[in-house]
Symmetry: C2
Subunit: 340 residues, 2 copies
């Protein structure tokens, strides 16, 4: 491969001029720039990112920390983020931390971050205190999705409101005995999604003057299996709920399965609503509050670009409310027996 020297020689200019011309910097005359571009094209010149990084201190790489790749929500976040990053000429370094939770198998370390990434995107997982400290010490800009940590920009929907929307949908249909299946809010301090969705549920129940039966508020892991188990417990109750608000579509699908296995008809015997609009939600006829992970990923990168290029353009407001939307399908309906 050719180097910047070859291009400089071919174009009859200095390497400094080649560098400026190729990067579109000002202070290069148009004829010169054209000559440089032509020479570079002819030589199939490609800048060595490694040399450029050493000289400039920038890598044009963003580290993306993500707990699970396989989940619909995270895959959408990454896809959205990766798309915008590419538009800006950035690359994605996958920062695999093993899994979420405190028993992190492979915490972020200086070897991974130092001079390797310009910034880090934290996707809906709790960082360890040591990791937060490390990022601060290294001065790495961070934008998060779903995790509120002092001083870092955060992209997230209003989980309380989204949960209120879901719960109110059930209440408006006439349900009075509404259960909630959510995630364990004690696991992560900064990922408040489970707690927020539960708060939205409780607030709405209060607004409609509905009793919250503690046996109808279950905590489980954020999976189809978790929803299944929780659903079975709900159906075993002496007076089972007539409706369930699940904190995610995956949990909701599990509840649907439990209902089916338990011989309950949906929505006649049990209404179920989730949050997400998972790719299989339509498939299950699942009513849900849609959110848009790819959009959230895009927005996180927009904000990150503003952080990396301050003053470059009108900054994206990091407190822009993110959209969500109730989608009613066939898993929710009026209760067959009207409210007692």
């Amino acid at each position: 491969m050719s180097t910047i020297h070859d291009v400089a020689q071919a174009a009859g200019v200095s390497t400094a001029t080649v560098s400026r011309a190729l990067r579109g910097l000002p202070r290069v005359s148009e004829p010169t720039r054209a000559r440089v571009l032509r020479a570079a094209a002819q030589l199939h010149y490609v800048v060595s990112p490694t040399a450029a990084s050493l000289a400039s201190g920038k890598t044009r790489v963003v580290g993306v920390v993500v707990p699970y790749l396989a989940r619909w929500y995270f895959a959408g976040l990454i896809r959205g983020a990766a798309t915008v990053l590419r538009e800006h000429g950035f690359h994605v370094l996958l920062l695999d931390v093993g899994s979420a939770g405190a028993t992190r198998s492979h915490p972020l370390d200086p070897q991974t971050l130092w001079k390797r990434v310009d910034a880090v995107l934290v996707l809906s997982l709790e960082l360890l205190a040591s990791e937060r400290e490390l990022l601060r010490d290294l001065g790495v800009p961070v934008v998060t999705v779903g995790v509120e940590v002092d001083g870092w920009d955060c992209v997230r929907i209003d989980d309380v409101s989204a949960a209120e929307t879901a719960t109110a949908h059930l209440a408006e249909l006439g349900h009075r005995r509404i259960a909630h299946v959510g995630g364990d809010e004690s696991l992560d301090v900064h990922v408040t999604t489970p707690a927020d969705r539960r708060a939205g549920y409780e607030r709405t129940m209060a607004r409609y003057s509905l009793d919250v039966d503690p046996r109808c508020v279950l905590v489980t892991d954020w999976t189809v299996h978790g929803g299944w188990r929780a659903g079975e417990r709900l159906l075993e109750l002496a007076t089972p709920p007539t409706a369930v608000f699940a904190a995610s579509d995956e949990i909701a699908m599990g509840v649907l399965f439990a209902a089916r296995r338990g011989g309950r008809r949906v929505p006649e015997d049990l209404s179920v609503v989730g949050i997400d609009d998972h790719e299989l939600a339509e498939f299950f006829g699942l009513s849900t509050v849609a959110q848009f992970p790819a959009l959230q990923g895009r927005m996180a990168v927009d904000i990150l670009m503003d952080v990396l290029n301050p003053g470059h353009r009108e900054p994206v407001a990091s407190n822009t409310p993110l959209p969500y939307e109730l989608i009613v399908r066939s898993s929710t309906a009026r209760p067959v027996r009207p409210a007692e």
Copy 2:
């Protein structure tokens, strides 16, 4: 942050010695090495990967090309690969090519590859001719999963045999009218999985002297939705099949849905077997031929490491047969009406 000069000064040696000592190279006395390590630790020294890359020509980054993140199979591959890469001190650059298929929105380009990755892992997707040429021209070592391309090491299960196992399971149960729902084998030349699985089906049908009804061999996209649509078509036949071999668990789940919607009981009216052992397979009671994507990802990296460090150790045989295993659950049984 401190540089190698700081460490050299603190340890009272040259930067060359620091470099050798830190990388565990020979020709450094133990006392010297100890002194260097201590100084480096005290200064919290971290090697600048960017400077090391410029000097050595190695990046310790592997590009991973993947068509879909959200799918269970690909997420498993990446997880397995990322784990082993980290063990070897390599990082993962996510090479997002938009999607699979010929209408690739963002093909691999020299800017992404050149001096940015030491090697590329191609995960079960067809590369464009231009991309293959590019990788060859750049001299980038490539290992693939599931894609046979001349000259590149390839990790994959024996898809023909796996399909034979699945089909034989149905035949042994006494099914005679066995359908197959697979992927479109014309889409990708080098990803032979759909064609191989269909070949395994056909070969087994012949072995058991069973007729292959062309109306019972359907092509669809590799998704739950695709399986659903195909399943509906099968059930609309005047004489529907009593069993379906789906080329993947996701397709199989779609067929299960179609059966349920069509009022058919599984397995009484219809047996369904897939391939994968998807995380939801147990959930659906789906009989399947399990494969192990994380293991495949691990093995691909093992081979890649041998390519990058020839002679470093006994190379992993790239033709090691990969394991698969029939798992019988509740979606398959003897046909209720014995074979005509």
